[in-house]
Symmetry: D2
Subunit: 342 residues, 4 copies
């Protein structure tokens, strides 16, 4: 089969590779129909993720059709259309029992990382019963792809951890795909004001069309303190992953507020405890658990959530090299999420 | 009357000062029978708290007898024995309505800071109805003094924010008075293991007698990771206020765990988001709200909590200069809390 | 001044009465500009509320202008436009400190019950600082009247107690004003399905226009179990106050679900513990605390909530006797809330 | 092997039966070393549980040694000493994913109910990975048997659902084994007062030795309202399962309080909504989920919980017929829990 392989920093190739086979009785083999590229895949391509080794098939998102299941799989059967969670969970370890699938002792984020991933024609999914979700045949398959990672990430790490509540004023710092996914799902809780912060005017315009009530392009701290009458925001959501944006967040969070970090940080940051020690704030970090995926699926099926808004480009899977180029040049290409179809 | 006055960094004196009078209808005048000295008073004496100006009467803790009340005070009357909360709260602003009295728009920590405090024969208490608590006459008055600040601080900032739960393994970094108050109140939630960390062997011995199950004097990170089989702790509670102890806490908190900061920090710290971004941790800061004081009073009255354990030294109020010397030299004097009696 | 007085079951009259005066320093006198009639007022007129005695001015809802304040009132001044909360709270007792204003030791529901109410030209508001809310002059005053009682009641007793969550399937049994207020505020949490139950087709049509996703007029238990594939609903909200509707709720609540009672019940009901003991359900009751009023105000001001949808009829205050007739004949008059303007 | 079989109401016998064998790949066969008898087994013997059919091996509690595991079992191996949960959970269905194992789509309470149970020499445990818990060899095995059902039941249905908090005043109505298990585990949260209610003086004496602070034998409502100065209790926990005790609970629960039902009810009860509708109470029901078992295990291992206090009688398994007689005559025999050893 064809697969997109990692060959060290900067080196990727679409190559032939043997089709995966069942290894454990809890495995399923899924024929990928739709996949996408994640910002994390770009991090990997820079060499930032040392657990990814030469020859690994990348990708941890996708929708497909179950081809074959191990003897221990009972929830799924050949022919089922399934959504692949970016997090693999055994459902039985202590972490899974607490709903913290991201730290599953036998799973977590392994697809396209420590085992072969979804940017291929077929993928092996371990612990299939608790790592796949059935989706209706012929439904809006592209929308479902957004549920593999980006929407649960924005929702769990940003919205739930940020404790967004009706009537709140919140700020989302970063209007890339993950910030926009946060914006879409924050509206589940009807905050009164959603301030979107990004230096890119195009992304802010998209944010406005997605429901942001205020846009801030420059001098974010000053602007947001002015907008909030010097009170700050109830939730400051970091959706970039660098020190500068984390700094904005700690400067704008109101006493009693929440700073929810989503961004993947490569470096430590300075935490201003000399100011924050007395300000009753809560700072959270999280690798998505995908515990909210069944709920998100219901909201998509009921029409409350429109994940397709995030999709800007389409490619055939055979053109995945070109899709990486487009996604890697997102600002110029005005790209959010790309869909690859087998 | 006699009062302990601040005269700039390093300079304090016991002097005569006019007895306070009612200013607002919501004020009460309280005759102090018992007070104490807080670690924060030592910070003030170092010049670390610029809101404290020359001539200020220090102190924000104490028990006394109501002498006189304004027309707007309805909960208290002359002759009532009362506990003075270190936090003044109006009960009517947005912060008070949310239970965040520390950020009361008309109060907060003002006693011995922006208005005259309790290290005197008399004190004026603004917003008396919501800033005092009635205590039984002739009860164990010294024990109640511990409820002005240290016990709600340990409990709210450390135990509640640390979400200590039955069966948890927790670590308290710092076995000074505030760490020990945390240790006492953490036991309300029956953690399975309480690891106490301090370089001072005497304080660790005290911690053991207060209920610590494990003591760590050296190499805290290595020791705690060994004790927890490399899992880390469910709650890491910072009870010192410097970068080194905050560092210990971020190194030992388990995935999904809580890092509860109690310490008053004078400098920023380094937050290792490059490791923590994916570890699902929650970091909290808090100035005590004293929202738990009524509950703590009940537990003292029912005998479940023995705050007197924290008291090591007694002085007449006339000897408060000497009491500061003793408390300021706590390690050598084996001092925890000192009681001053008028 | 003119006031609507209760003279025993079935007897009410618009009469002259002395204008109220300040009694306690925490009082305010408010000139009523807008008021309304509550279903509870109809209960009173039937003689169901024995605490209401002959000569009482009815009414516990309204917007007005502060005329005069006592010496102890600091948040409001003459000329302020204010929303009157149906619940009076002192802000200082144990219940108020917990946010349970409905059980305030010095307040609770007293307006138009144990003291004179708002269906008059002027009203005395005890504990004004914590029982009034400032609203913008010239704003949409009629909309704010809905925040005195009906919207916080639907939201707190129905939506918050019912723990409505994104993606949930909920049922609201009763599409009268209170059920519709619940429907409006339930959407703050983006449930996937809101099933509205009422025998009145007109009210169901209104519910549909307000956002209900499914309507059930007959055989509610059978219909709802069919709609939910025999699973039942995550939240069953009782908005009527009789045994039959409570019965529907206990028959349709799913394992792990919430039954939130809003209705004012005059009789005991049968609780089917022989079925429910093992079904992990939570049943709640609540007299509204109006703790959510500031948040609801923000959502109205930001345009997220449109309380005017609930208003069907307008009268001059001088025509309040006729307004009672209309509201008392709500089904035929297709009346929801009526607004009375002074 | 020997097993205790149900042969219809009133009829039980210790008989020979084939040793169970693996059926599904997720099964384990466990050799029982210790088991016990539950109050529910007595209900079954009365014919109250129609899902139990003739020939069923009773029992849903026990500790044993894994004899054999199916191909899909990965957490346990032959030779492991294990605690058997009374609730079987697949870990993969929607209910299990929410931690509501009691309503597992493929499990729940099935042992000794719809499949053969633990009052035998061997038992087949479906979904072994998520329905067994490893315990240390040679530990205090008898204590662990109390973790199969009675301690998680008292803790989850009574203490957690009752939201017992430090400083609370709670009442436990019924001092049988389940009420006493609630009493033991309520102390994890340090309530200030625990009022124990039972007509049996011996059971009250046991309760006192277990930590009850007040005992009430007669006129419970009057006595408790007197003890609480007419306020009522923060949590009223029903540990019997009849209308009369549920009535006590609804009469004594304070405004804002919790009524946590543990008892297995055979009949409906009268709920006094005409009083309770406005009292802001929460009523809960629950079939134990055993989600707290790992935590309870840790507290037993750390010595915080002494489940052996509940054990009054010991029998060889061969004498189980006599053990039933003793347990069925608990008041006269002063029996709490009996241990049967193979």
């Amino acid at each position: 089969m064809k697969a997109l392989l990692y060959h060290g920093p900067g080196a990727r190739a679409l190559e032939e590779k043997p089709k995966p086979v069942l290894i454990d009785p809890t495995d399923a083999i899924v024929k990928i129909t739709h996949t996408t590229i994640c910002g994390t895949d770009l991090h990997i391509m820079k060499g930032d993720v040392p657990t990814v080794t030469d020859g690994r098939t990348l990708g941890h998102e996708g929708v497909g059709i179950v081809e074959e299941t191990g003897a221990g799989v009972s929830n799924f059967h050949a022919g089922d259309t399934v959504l692949i969670s970016c997090i693999t969970s055994c459902g039985k370890c202590g972490s899974c029992r607490k709903g913290m699938y991201s730290h599953c002792e036998h799973g977590g984020w392994i697809l396209g990382n420590t085992i072969d991933g979804t940017q291929a024609e077929y993928v092996r999914i371990p612990h299939a019963d608790s790592s796949l979700h059935r989706v209706p045949d012929g439904g809006d398959t592209e929308a479902f792809v957004m549920l593999s990672d980006i929407l649960p990430t924005g929702f769990e790490c940003g919205v739930l951890n940020g404790r967004v509540q009706p009537g709140d004023t919140i700020a989302i710092v970063g209007a890339g795909p993950i910030g926009l996914a946060t914006l879409l799902t924050a509206q589940f809780y009807s905050p009164a004001e959603i301030i979107m912060v990004d230096p890119d005017a195009n992304r802010l315009a998209v944010a406005k069309s997605f429901g942001a009530t205020k846009l801030v392009q420059n001098n974010p701290v000053e602007e947001i303190m002015k907008l909030t009458h010097d009170r700050g925001v109830d939730a400051a959501i970091e959706a970039v992953g660098i020190g500068a944006t984390f700094d904005i967040c700690q400067s704008i969070v109101a006493p009693g507020g929440h700073l929810a970090n989503i961004g993947v940080h490569g470096k430590s940051v300075t935490l201003h405890l000399e100011k924050l020690w007395s300000s009753n704030v809560t700072i959270t970090t999280r690798l998505v658990d995908t515990v909210s995926t069944p709920m998100l699926l219901r909201t998509v099926l009921s029409g409350k959530l429109q994940p397709k808004l995030l999709i800007t480009h389409h490619f055939a899977f055979a053109d995945i090299m070109k899709a990486y180029d487009t996604f890697g040049n997102a600002a110029n290409e005005k790209a959010l999420k790309v869909i690859l179809t087998n």
